[in-house]
Symmetry: C2
Amino acid sequence: MFADRLLDAIAEKGSPICVGIDPIFDMLPDDVAGAETERDANDAEAAVDAIFEFTIEVLQVVAPYVPCVKFQSAYFEKYLWEGVEAYFSLIHEAKALDLLVIGDVKRGDIGATSSAYAAAQLADSPYSLHDADAPDAITVNPMLGLDTLEPFTKVAKDEGKGLFVLVRTSNPGSAQFQDAKLADGRTWSEMLADSLAPVAASEGLVGSSGYSSIGAVVGATQPQTMQSLRKRLPQSIFLLPGYGTQGATAEMTHAAFNEDGRGAIVSASRSILYAHRDARHAAAGDWRKAVESATLAMKEDLAHIR
Amino acid sequence: MFADRLLDAIAEKGSPICVGIDPIFDMLPDDVAGAETERDANDAEAAVDAIFEFTIEVLQVVAPYVPCVKFQSAYFEKYLWEGVEAYFSLIHEAKALDLLVIGDVKRGDIGATSSAYAAAQLADSPYSLHDADAPDAITVNPMLGLDTLEPFTKVAKDEGKGLFVLVRTSNPGSAQFQDAKLADGRTWSEMLADSLAPVAASEGLVGSSGYSSIGAVVGATQPQTMQSLRKRLPQSIFLLPGYGTQGATAEMTHAAFNEDGRGAIVSASRSILYAHRDARHAAAGDWRKAVESATLAMKEDLAHIR
């Protein structure tokens, strides 16, 4: 049961933090990827090797402090099949460190194709040999319809896994389509949230915590709609991207948490991964120390608002 | 310029047909994948080998008759990185047969992540060694906002490639979110179409044909909204899934074509790939002959309505 495992891990680590693994070769520290001026962006093998080494070390640094990491598939897919192999291998490494893993894949398709994506991206695969693993949960795109989520919820139910359904994203242009005003007064995202609530509440998906393994992605940058979405999806855990580099503050995440202090997890990627580029954290020592410093600063920052 | 290349290829082959490559191990002919009772669904290597051999032969059979094929990424991702390698290798094989290739990946994400997906899935990759190629166009999911499409349109412009943006899908549950009625009387999909029209019309994306390389996916199963979407996106080529197995007929695709007989391409996957399971085509001989028979029947069927 993903929801209970996530809430237990948040309680154990004392922080509702998900570290986003967005490995960008150009931004890696010199002592992992070589001097910036000497990096060959067209050398996929060197890039994947550096990303692998960097990610393993990041996982080791953050594992004592956070319950969860989120792998952004795009940065691995960029290196075609070698990147995809690294993605599944690194998920295995993260699990070995007792981290829960979200695969940020934003998949969504119809019918049998949706089932193939659920098998590919969420289910424990019969093909995962060689120290590779599927994530504990993935992000999915619901635009195509509730019926297209069924293969994913089936795997979530059967294998105790989770989903985070995109409901309201953190990007500047998100309002145009997602806040479109419906004839009945709701925004499109509010309608989506109302449609998802019964799915989240359905049998086999709600844990003993009362929370559902069907969560929602709601940008931390969207405080104006957070309260409304929180009420419409009372049993869903909210995954909140946008903290840090995208400009959301701890205060802006407040409305996503329920009165029991639970129900949300705040995601930060670049502000932690590339802390060595931030003078406030670079002072802590080498890049590993900078990552640790940024993680602890985020934990402290969030502790004030719950 | 993708739009012109596609229209030229449609004219040359005399058929607005896109064959969808949805390779499902269980459904492959016995003489490619072995007897059904003896197939081991957990043997990824055997499955990928069979899918590779099957797809190559399908490409050879259909290349004289159709301008375009569409690879469904999910059925390759199911076999993790080995499947992804097969995906890019088979795209290379399709291009060598002068087929235009659409990658049906339905990706969509924000900011730098969207750029990484555009690099991974649409751009000619600096990492594509070993007889692998990127597709000529891909499908994208626009739910996250127009800003999230920019990295994809940039690659389309820079490299002469194309996009098919999901506007109205073919699945039974698609109406709930996509036909949601807005306060201004439009459906959500109509609003989306109106927002996309200026993008499609923008400089560098419209060919000498007058058509744009920014196309739209509109399910052939949605005749009730086809005319409205056709008017709202006059320069976009429509990719129409849903013909055949999903129940759309040639007549249902009629409204997607402009008066010049151009502007749409009809996609069919299982009705062609698995024609050996259909008595009407199995009579033609072995499975290759059945694929050819189904392709020719579709060409004939569509010729009547344009």
